[in-house]
Symmetry: C2
Subunit: 382 residues, 2 copies
């Protein structure tokens, strides 16, 4: 199939770029002396996962555990705080795919419920204690008394095994610039290592000290004491990461192919058939830094690829309609994007955008051939 034969909207993957992104991050992990356990919540694709690693992976849903298990990935960290009712499904998936699973907990009530349900299921689950390194999301403070108490509680159940500590510097996504992100990376490392050190001093074995976000993985200077990192969005990259200074726009591997379906001279807008569902309503790249202009819901490229067309952005979205605005003359804009022509939209936040699609259309840069259709995992429940 050719690029020109694809029905719009659909999700394109530039294979050259995803290969390059994966190779670069492998090199980063090697240079930093840590294992790379990529977070597949972004790519949701076994084909991308195989480019990213031959080892363990990170996921965010039961559906992803089932999907990646089915595709031969056995060593999986489920990096959303566990809740006991999910254990029945997890036990089934473990059996079905022969998985080695690590689950996340940060509260005694969670540990008690998980231990109780694990006993009923006659299972033993590996738990990572989540640490809050400053983002205020999940996790315990690395320096509090609750940390040791929780480890003790885990040890007290024969149905649980303390496997390590895990933290995620989510705040890095709101911190533009190399210098600022480098500081966040050090805070992330320091929190995880402090937690591990305190636990070891109290007699606990802590095999895993896990950190990671794409920004901190890209800019970390030193990961002493850390065993693995879990970046995810780097596989595809997006305008948000470009605005943070974490990648170049030329590194963005995923885009949405859309058709021009209208010209509205009254609102001076070009209408495309990719709206809030096809692009997502995420606006996170806007107003982040000095590196990128206002990108709206996405920047506009030629269908064949190449850099963003100067001055154009998706300025407004409704459910199935997107509206491209230009900075110059409207007649020129309409001539530049004639009715029936096609564009690629670079996503603002690719984790949100890509989630709406059940597959990637895979191409090489500059080639009109669609080489493959790579399926993606969707939803939450297997």
């Amino acid at each position: 199939m050719k690029l020109t034969e694809l029905s719009t909207p659909c999700l394109l993957l530039d294979l050259d770029r995803v290969e390059r992104n994966c190779a670069t991050m492998k090199g980063r992990a090697q240079a930093l002396g840590v294992a790379l356990r990529p977070h597949l919540k972004t790519a949701k694709s076994a084909d991308v996962a195989r480019l990213a690693t031959q080892g363990g992976i990170t996921v965010s849903t039961l559906a992803e555990i089932d999907y990646f298990g089915r595709h031969g990935f056995r060593d999986i960290t489920y990096a959303v705080g566990i809740t006991a009712h999910k254990l029945d499904t997890l036990a089934e998936l473990q059996d079905k795919h022969g998985l080695s699973l690590s689950l996340l907990a940060d509260h005694p009530a969670t540990v008690n419920e998980v231990a109780r349900r694990a006993a009923q299921l006659d299972r033993r689950f590996a738990l990572l204690i989540e640490i809050d390194c400053g983002g205020g999301r999940g996790g315990l403070a690395p320096d509090g008394a609750e940390l040791l108490a929780l480890a003790q509680l885990i040890r007290s159940s024969s149905h649980l095994r303390l496997h390590g500590v895990l933290t995620h510097a989510g705040q890095s996504y709101a911190t533009p610039g190399r210098q600022a992100i480098t500081a966040v990376a050090e805070a992330e490392r320091a929190a995880a290592v402090l937690a591990a050190t305190r636990l070891r001093a109290a007699g606990f074995e802590i095999p895993v000290v896990s950190v990671g976000s794409t920004p901190t993985a890209v800019f970390a200077q030193d990961l002493s004491g850390v065993t693995e990192m879990r970046p995810g969005v780097y596989t595809l990259f997006d305008l948000d990461q470009a605005a943070l200074g974490v990648c170049k726009v030329d590194d963005i591997a995923a885009s949405v192919l859309a058709s021009v379906i209208g010209h509205n001279p009254r609102s001076r807008r070009v209408l495309i058939d990719a709206g809030g569902l096809a692009l997502s309503k995420d606006l996170s790249a806007n107003g982040l830094g000095s590196g990128t202009p206002d990108v709206g819901y996405g920047l506009v490229c030629a269908a064949e690829g190449g850099p963003p067309l100067a001055g154009l952005r998706v300025a407004e979205v409704h459910q199935e309609h997107g509206f491209i605005a230009g900075s110059g003359d409207t007649d020129l804009l309409f001539r530049q994007l004639p009715i029936g022509s096609r564009v690629r939209i670079l996503p603002n936040h690719v984790c949100m955008t890509a989630a709406a699609y059940d597959c990637f259309e895979v191409l090489r840069a500059g080639s009109p051939e669609v080489l493959a259709r790579w399926p993606r995992a969707g939803g939450w429940n297997p």
Copy 2:
């Protein structure tokens, strides 16, 4: 299955409310003397569609055409401006399901390309001319020369048939209050009727004069000259419609069931396992009117249903994490929403929220029994 056995996040449907919403809108259409052609882009469900109508429907994707065709809906308006490359698939779907399809156009280039491709396929397609009634989205001005020229162009092809005019007052979603929306409804009606009247005066048959959005359908005083209306979100309703004054919060029929997976005393937030993907990042209900407080990414109800819990909202979302903030004491908030407990989140904009789910879990108000799982259409391409 019981409500308590569902894995989270998942999408709940209150059958009493959807039945009531559908009955009320049928009554509105009858009172206004127009046909009701519900827009199923919101519900994406044949089961909901059967509650809404025994007649024609409106959809927004090729995938919905295939899905509803498969479920016996034959008379379908595809209410996103057509682009010629979609005609091959449409022709296949017409044959497969025996469909009577109406397509949308507003530009000579579209009409020329559709006529050319229809000739190659040896088909005749019915076209509605889209009219811009002030929203600045798709459509021609109802009073311009382009309207008559486009109708003439359609008539000049033996592979096309002019079926009528269609408009959508998208601006009603940004216009809170009965009085203001009533004025938008009249502008919507007037634009469609003006276009139809001018075309008829020029000798064109215009069987269909189609208007509609949920706000204008609810508040229109008079639809003289209109043949049908196409509201959609009324089947489920949401906080956005409540903020506009179009429904009560008690009319909202869809919600997301989520589990409490953490308490963060540092950020004073309750963590749930429903984030930006499970709730969407749509914020449209916020800052709209005086009728509702800041709803963030959704209001929080007890898992069993009932009104929103006072002072609580989903204040922040990340991909798979939502953060509930309260207005009062943090200890009280944590006691109110203990770890492992469940909540229902009322969606900000249900079209965006529901799109992430491949089914509804259907319940009666106040009952813990899940009566059925109703599938939903997803994606774009069959």
